[in-house]
């Protein structure tokens, strides 16, 4: 167990709609997400005294959000980093509160990820205009090697070769998460898909097809961290933070391509710390979120965090194992692949809602924790969900994790 296990909680969650074109500023969306998270928790702006966010490409500053919502911050900052920062900011928050620097921290990510500045640098209308290749980019941009899909593809090729795996395993992941999205009224893509649909979708960067890639989304998503003492006074059942890892790196972080086996993801360097701090094991997890920038990133993280062995995940995901009512219900919101891409924050929100037993599904009583568990009627609450985790990905060489429990665990 960690020194601070169960001493801090996630008490509020909120987000805007997941949109293809928001026609709004990231500032406006951030305010809505933070306001909804405060309302969800039953917190006033006077009771929130810190805001953190992170950005690459599109974003807004915490200062403007605080100003707009009337929050006086004892701490405010924006980290310059991408996927895997969500869980890292939880660790920052715990340290700041424990140290007495602030009391209650709102964490958000806001971006017009489709109509503003897109990941990989594309302009809203398509290809990138003439661009500057500086720093590390000197050694990939002139080689037409810039987007996340392009960067992760060589590792995926090598994985398929070394383990004799098929991209049908990627299709299993895509289809499972899309099924969950069909149970999530917030999700952008809700029409169920099959593995064959995945196999027929167009190539983006081989071995990745369109249905291997997450959505590009205009959205803001937020949640709030505070101490357990305060959490018990608030509106929702607290969700306790058991442990995790805060943006852990593999070796050769800046030139992943010279690591002997590029598919040995950063989680392999973090999992003993994370599970050790939490005092539980992968087997104990009832609801899981995995940063699904691509279907393939799910494969690597299942292995890295010990849900199966290295090279085993392509087999592990077969037969719907990641689906609700199966062994390891994963990305119950639909994830980045089907709900929408909020850079990891919304993945945490889903685990929190599941652990409260308040998944916001089609059940009329969801807000009071009354669920039918009838999937045909649109219920996506996992029965008796007690332990959950969110795994963050920021390339093969960096990753984060957050292990949570419900009040009944």
């Amino acid at each position: 167990m960690g020194a601070l296990t169960d001493k801090y909680c996630i008490v509020g969650v909120g987000e805007t709609q997941f949109m293809k074109a928001s026609h709004r500023t990231p500032l406006s969306m951030a305010c809505e997400a933070v306001k909804k998270a405060m309302d969800d928790a039953g917190l006033t702006p006077r009771e929130v005294d810190a805001i953190t966010s992170f950005q690459i490409a599109d974003s807004t500053d915490v200062t403007n959000v605080a100003q707009a919502l009337g929050i006086r911050m004892n701490y405010g900052s924006v980290a310059f980093s991408g996927g895997s920062t969500t869980e890292a900011l939880v660790a920052h928050s715990i340290g700041l509160i424990e140290g007495g620097y602030c009391n209650t921290v709102a964490i958000f990510r806001s971006m017009n990820g489709r109509t503003g500045r897109r990941m990989g640098g594309q302009a809203p209308g398509g290809v990138v205009p003439p661009s500057r290749a500086e720093g590390d980019a000197q050694f990939y941009m002139p080689w037409g090697f810039t987007t996340p899909a392009q960067h992760f593809a060589p590792s995926a090729m090598r994985y398929l070769r070394d383990f004799g795996a098929s991209t049908r395993s990627f299709g299993e992941v895509a289809a499972a998460f899309r099924y969950h999205a069909s149970l999530n009224p917030k999700a952008l893509m809700r029409a169920p898909i099959t593995i064959e649909d995945h196999q027929r979708s167009r190539w983006v960067a081989k071995p990745f097809r369109l249905l291997d890639c997450c959505l590009e989304t205009d959205v803001a998503s937020a949640f709030i961290v505070t101490s357990r003492e305060r959490a018990f006074d608030l509106r929702q059942p607290p969700v306790f933070i058991m442990g995790g890892s805060a943006r852990t790196y593999a070796d050769n972080p800046a030139w992943n391509h010279s690591r002997p086996r590029t598919y040995i993801q950063a989680g392999n360097f973090a999992r003993q710390r994370a599970w050790g701090m939490a005092g539980i094991r992968p087997d104990d997890i009832d609801v899981l979120s995995i940063y699904d920038a691509f279907t393939y990133t799910v494969i690597l993280q299942l292995e890295a965090y010990g849900f199966c062995g290295i090279g085993e995940a392509a087999e592990f995901v077969k037969d719907g194992r990641l689906r609700i009512d199966h062994q390891l219900p994963t990305n119950l919101s639909g994830g980045h692949l089907s709900e929408g891409y909020a850079h990891g924050v919304a993945l945490v929100n889903e685990v929190v809602r599941q652990l409260r037993h308040r998944a916001d599904d089609a059940c009329p009583g969801w807000a009071e924790g009354r669920h039918t568990y009838d999937r045909a009627a649109g219920c996506r609450q996992v029965r008796d969900a007690r332990f959950g985790a969110s795994l963050g990905w920021g390339t093969e060489t960096r990753g984060s994790s957050l292990i949570l429990r419900s009040i009944s665990a």
């Binding site: 290809v127 003439p130 080689w143 070769r161």
Partner: protein, 156 residues
């Protein structure tokens, strides 16, 4: 062979750590960084040795030969420079003369001269220096240079 790449649409900004590397490509040399203290080699040219922390560095001129470790086939252009080039293959080439006794190795990426059907993991590669419209920049690319056993090709 992939279509032409319009390098004029990429503005390369060499810095103090990389200028000599780009100068090397103009003289058709594929350089990697090397530590004068312990001999370690690496790429890209970060300014310190990850094995011994020495910052007393030199350049090692590789043979420009290696083996294709992996690759991606880019079918959707993202950069304006590559609109006419798709589909193209970016290869990750493991350099023959940068293997070290402790297992560390150096891979350099680049656009293959070959089309997808000629490319397979395990095949030998040779660097090719491609002039650009700007005399200050010569671009290293890779071509398949022979055959090998136990190669692997993506076939889905």
């Amino acid at each position: 062979m992939p279509g032409p790449i319009d390098y004029s649409k990429i503005n390369i900004i060499p810095d103090q750590d990389t200028t000599e590397w780009w100068e090397g490509t103009k003289r058709h040399k594929l350089l990697v960084r090397q530590c004068k203290n312990c001999g370690h080699k690496w790429f890209p040219p970060f300014p310190a040795c990850a094995k011994c922390t020495s910052m007393d560095l030199t350049w090692f001129e590789t043979s420009g030969k290696g083996v294709l470790h992996s690759y991606v086939v880019v079918t959707q252009p993202i950069l304006a420079a590559f609109v006419s080039a798709v589909p193209y293959v970016v290869g990750l080439v493991e350099l023959d003369d940068c293997h070290e006794p402790d297992g560390s190795l150096t891979r350099v990426a680049g656009v293959m001269m070959d089309d997808e059907d000629a490319v397979a993991i395990g095949l030998p590669c040779q660097v090719v220096f491609e002039p650009t419209a700007d005399p200050n920049f010569v671009m290293p690319r890779w071509k398949i240079s022979g055959t090998a056993q136990n190669t692997w090709k993506f076939k889905e």
